[in-house]
Every structure is written in structure tokens, then in C-alpha cells.
Amino acid sequence: MLDLQCANNSSLCGGAASPPSGFDLRKEAEAAGITETLRELEHELIGLKPVKSRVRQIASLLLIERIRQRAGLVSSPPTLHMSFTGNPGTGKTTVALRMAKILHGLGFVRRGQVISVTRDDLVGQYIGHTAPKTKEILKKAMGGVLFIDEAYYLHRPDNERDYGQEAIEILLQVMENQREDLVVILAGYGERMTNFFASNPGFRSRIAHHIEFPDYSEAELLLISELMLKERGYSFSAAAREAFVNYIALRMTQPFFSNARSIRNAVDRIRLRQADRLVSDLDRMLEIKDLETIDSSDVLASRVFSASPPGEGREPSERTS
């Protein structure tokens, strides 16, 4: 129905009547912006080897698909719905945003916005409430990516008359019939997603790409912390770095550990403590270096190091992105 080919990437579809005889692959990839996006993915995200290679594969497939279309070869609009499974804080939301950029660059979604929702955004409280709610969200997501976090909450096997089922049906229909209008990414934690798919075969069959997000190693978490500090204009002193290595080891064993998000929260608190330390001595002259450096004391003051384990490690279930 829609003139998808030319919707947003004129460089990829110059409107030529007869297909060109050859394609400069590098140029094509650059024009679509995917070279740049993949480079960012590589550099700005630590680890995630399997994820990165799956994303790269998908990008390649879409690039070739695009070129095949222009060459007039047999091509079918690919199914692009995906599922991202992995523990909290493993980068699912972050990668979804990059994925939207890639899809947009290649013209597989027209606008590239990401609408991130959970059950409460889709499912209503009373009869007749769910369909309009779900449709409202779908309409906003058209042309972009609908990211459904903790998708398994949509389905409540214990409750037969759960309104979630209605939302699921509408979603399935749109995922099937309007594949060129939006891409749905379901996200959630490993085990529960597996169960969800088992009891909702409709979803399983509509999803083309299942991507698993592994937990980060200690070394990767350290790299992540250093990257986050760098982005915020800080760095560890040698002693602080050593302290943080210990911090990671301890924190991983404590409850509510959520991979990179725990690191982000730790970094934020470390900044607080550093500021507090600096301000406690009003009479000294500060140098740039003082402002930039994290001391071991800033790390060691964490309650993670104190006897009672679940202390500051408790991360409120603020699970937004």
C-alpha cells in the first residue's frame, strides 16, 4: 500500500527506472548510516559479543535485501520482530534503541522512534478498556519500534479472563498484517520468556530473531564502569580502581544485582561521595585533577563492603530503561 521504498531514504532508491548493474556495497552501507551505527555499537557497548554479531548479521541481511529489491530480484518483506532475552541490566533497552536506528537507516521502519511499554500501558482495567489502550500505543509506534519490556506479564496463565489476552490478540494481528509499519521487540528475563513463548506460540512464530543477552563478566563490568566514568568526565585513581574490582566481586554475590545497571548506580553514588569529600574541606584550593579523580575512599565507603550484605546493594525496582 505504502511507498515504503522512498519513505525516508532517497539515497537508497534514487527512483531509477532500470536497476543499476552494479552496487558499491561500502557506499550503500554508509548511505544507510549502518556503518556508523555498527561502529558506535562496537565502541560504546562493552562485551555483548554474541549480541553484536547477531545485530551485524541482521543489518547485513537487511542491506542485501534492500539491494536485491532495487536490483529487481525476488525479495519478500522480511519479518523483523525480535525478542531480547537476558537478565536485568544486560543492555536490552540500549540495544533496542540502536536497532531502531539501523532499521530506520535502511528504510525498514519509516520514522525510527522507539515506544517503550510494559503491560500496564497496553492492558486495561475493565471491559472495553484494553483494545483502545493497545491501539493507542500501536498508533504511536507505527513507523518505528514497539519495545515491550517484560513481555511475559502480558500473559497471566492463572486468570482465564485476563484482559492481557485481548492485548495479545491485537498485537499478534498487527505484527502479522502490518509488518512494514512497525517492528515489535519483546524483552524480558531468560527463563520466563521461554515459558511465555511456550504458552504463546503465536508470538514465537512471528518472531524472526531471538537474541540472548549474556551476563557480563567481572572484567567487562569494570570496563563498563570506566566507560561510564569517562563519559561523565571522571576516572579512577589506581587505588580506587582496585577497590572497585573488589566492589564488583562483592556486589555480584548480593541480592538485586542487575549487571550494568548496578554499575551505573554505583558510579552515580561514587560521584556523590566524591563531591561530598571535596566540599567537606572548604579551605583548600581545588585543581582540575581533584575534580576528575575518584579516590579509593569514594569507593570503599560503600555499604557493599560492610558486614550486612543487602545494605546499599538494594536497588529499588526502578527498572526504567
Binding site: M1, R110, Q113, K135, K139, K140, A141, M142, G144, D181
Partner: protein, 135 residues
């Protein structure tokens, strides 16, 4: 009678692709998009029935097209129009409005005249069912 209300009534009826592009134009301008339908296209009938609430904050016209398809499924035998509403100061009204559906057999308007004092005539425009026999 071919009703010529709306922005594009003198052109052949818009295809869905054309409608999509006009809606996208509205969204790009930040206007809310509204779908309305009626079986009373009298020129002074301002308030057509609303098909749901106006759609705010959409990125892509596909969302509107989805609603339009639904509206046509239910009210395919009526007039349906799409309008773009601009809430910015100094306008705060409709910016564009165009028909996206007509009944298969369009009604027509009879002009009724009442002769009053002098040569003055009072006019009333009355909606009449289509002149073509309904199948």
C-alpha cells in the same frame, strides 16, 4: 450529486497512498488528526460524529490509516473526513480537512423557497436521498 466539501473534492477520490501522505503532512506539522463520519453532509452541519478521539503525538500516518480502515468497515456507507487540528496560538482550529469516503450513492440537496414580502425569498437547503434507485 458529488459533494465538494473538503480540500480535494475536485480531484479524483484520493487513494490510500495519497491519504497516507496528506496525513503524514499533518503529523509533520504537529497537528492532531481527527476522523469524523456522517450521513448528513448538510453544509451547515459542523459536527460530524467523531471516530474516537483526535489522535495526538503519532509519528507515522499508518496509525491513522489503521483507524480509517476500521471506520470504513463500520461506516463505509457514509461520508468520512479527516482533519488536521493545529493547537498553536492564534489558530487553534482546523488546518486542513478532506473527504476520504463517500457513500456509493450520494444524496443531493433540494433548495426550498418560501416567497415572502416583496421579491424576497427565504431559502432552505434540504437533504434528499440519492436520485439513483438503490439496488
Amino acid at each position: 450529486m458529488r459533494l465538494t466539501q473538503g480540500c480535494f473534492s475536485f480531484l479524483p477520490d484520493l487513494t490510500d497512498d495519497q491519504i497516507y501522505k496528506q496525513v503524514q503532512y499533518c503529523l509533520a506539522n504537529g497537528w492532531a488528526v481527527n476522523i469524523e463520519f456522517t450521513d448528513d453532509p448538510h453544509p451547515r452541519n459542523t459536527y460530524w460524529e467523531m471516530w474516537g478521539l483526535p489522535m495526538f503525538d503519532l509519528s507515522d500516518a499508518a496509525g491513522v490509516m489503521m483507524e480509517l480502515a476500521e471506520c470504513r468497515r463500520v461506516y463505509g456507507d457514509r461520508y468520512i473526513r479527516i482533519s488536521g487540528f493545529d493547537s498553536s496560538h492564534g489558530w487553534e482550529s482546523v488546518r486542513i480537512s478532506f473527504l476520504v469516503n463517500r457513500p456509493a450513492q450520494e444524496p443531493y440537496f433540494a433548495l426550498e423557497r418560501q416567497e415572502v414580502a416583496g421579491r424576497v425569498v427565504r431559502y432552505a437547503t434540504r437533504l434528499c436521498p440519492s436520485r439513483e434507485a438503490t439496488p
